[in-house]
Amino acid sequence: MADDKPMAGGEVIAVRQLSKRYATRAGPVLALDGIDFSVADGEFVAIVGPSGCGKSTLLKILAGLLPMSSGEASLRGTPIARPRRDIGVVFQSPVLFPWRTVLDNVLLPVDVQRLGRDTHGKVARDLLHLVGLDGFEDRYPWELSGGMQQRVAIVRALVNDPVMLLMDEPFGALDAMTREAMNLELQRIWMTRRKTVLFITHSISEAVFLADRVLVMSARPGRIIDTLAVDIQRPRALDVVNSDQFGAYARRVRGGLNAKGGLEG
């Protein structure tokens, strides 16, 4: 991992004219078309779009799990061509290994990347404390609720101190109440750690609530059709969603999505 931190506000991730084509039996399908954006250091950016707009494909490409067809993507100036150790990924499901305890699950990146459990054991415990899971270190994933499991997954993505977090609808499988609690939790973690986050969701209110900037995507082909900066003071409380300011942002996002065929695209 490179030690040199970029200047505050510098670009962490830069995506230029990124396209992805799939070959199907019916012919080639353009899943992503000329995606262009960048995320600044410490910024929280949400990408919102209907299901099937290719936002998960975009995240897989940025995680180095899928090749892109054309264009470029770089992290701190070096191109993303394969999985990188300085990116942490949180998937839609927690993807915890049932044979590992909570602590061992958190330390999976440390084991894989041979970073040494001595130094990172303390980091892992501190992070578990941050998300309110002290005392659960030696429990097994099946003993935890869905929200707790997803918190373990977030801690696991943070344990090797990556440059940025990629989150693919991490709370999509949770019930509405837990989801709101997790949004607050994530905001708190983000404000403590100031990680750069790229957060993918199909929930407009989740995107506006969490992000500094929201990118709106359309489906078939996946394009970024609108970008808006969310200028609401932090920490944001849950009832901010009832404010006029929040409503205005949400309306603008919804307007962009509706103009391109609506959420059911």
Partner: protein, 266 residues
């Protein structure tokens, strides 16, 4: 449900069953070389234990079964990993696997005795052959049944294929492997008994056959009792091991001790 009452009921059921058996055999004057009474069997069992003939034969059968189990399952594990991870190996081996899988392996016992003689070797080979398939099939299925998200997670962490195997594929396959071992254990016992039937100098199977020639049916029943006790103990050993290995498997808690016979035939 009251478990103490259930225990009492099952003991009562056993007593009634034995009593009916005893009464029927006596009432209809069924000859002992057709169906002995439970008391005859108990006597035969007692005489056999006192004379000490069981110990030697039991030891031989256990040794054959254990060696056959170890050889068969080790090879099955190695082959299973090879076939599961290497497409080319799978391409060449799979037709033979399918062919052997659908063949009753015990039918090979006469040939194996011809090739490996009347001694211990032919029994070990036969037990190993029968124990091989259930574990190999289960190993392949287990290693292949990995959740794609878990593989994606490992890849996103920049894990090597070797790390993915040791940290994900192998632990993930353990429930299948343990189920395969359970079947393989009982199959190994069956394999060695069948090979003893075909031709052997000692072992519980040999004992059953010689008793059959002398029409000592009560004696045969007493050996069958020993064999089912052996099967039960071997199965318990595997279950004991499985509980320790698979403490994390949610299906483990909900499981019955009876294993459905997946993973092949004899």
């Amino acid at each position: 449900m009251n478990s103490r009452r259930n225990l009492a009921l099952s003991v009562l059921f056993f007593v009634v069953f034995v009593a009916i058996w005893e009464t029927c055999v006596r009432a209809f004057a069924i000859p002992a070389f057709i169906l002995p009474t439970p008391s005859n069997i108990a006597m035969a069992f007692y005489r056999g234990v006192m004379s000490g003939i069981y110990v030697h034969h039991l030891w031989i059968t256990l040794l054959e079964t254990a060696l056959g189990f170890i050889v068969g399952t080790t090879l099955a594990f190695v082959f299973g990993i090879g076939v599961a991870l290497n497409r080319r190996l799978e391409f060449f081996l799979y037709p033979y696997i399918i062919m052997f899988q659908s063949m009753p392996k015990v039918a090979l016992a006469p040939l194996i005795v011809v090739w490996f003689g009347l001694g211990l070797t032919s029994k070990v080979v036969n037990a190993a052959l029968v124990a091989f398939f259930p574990l190999m099939v289960n190993t392949i299925v287990g290693l292949r049944s990995v959740d794609e998200d878990r593989v994606s997670l490992m890849r996103s962490l920049d894990a090597s294929e070797t790390q993915i195997f040791w940290m994900l594929r192998l632990p993930n396959a353990l429930p299948f492997i343990m189920a395969g071992l359970e079947i393989a254990m009982i199959f190994a016992l069956i394999g060695s008994i069948v090979a003893e039937f075909v031709g052997a100098e000692s072992g519980l199977g040999t004992l059953i056959q010689s008793m059959n020639f002398t029409m000592d049916v009560a004696g045969q029943f007493s050996v069958l009792l020993i064999l089912s006790a052996v099967g039960l103990v071997l199965n318990k050993c595997i279950i004991f091991f499985r509980r320790r290995v698979l403490f994390w498997d949610p299906s483990e808690k909900a499981r019955e001790d009876l294993t459905p016979a997946k993973g092949g035939n004899l």
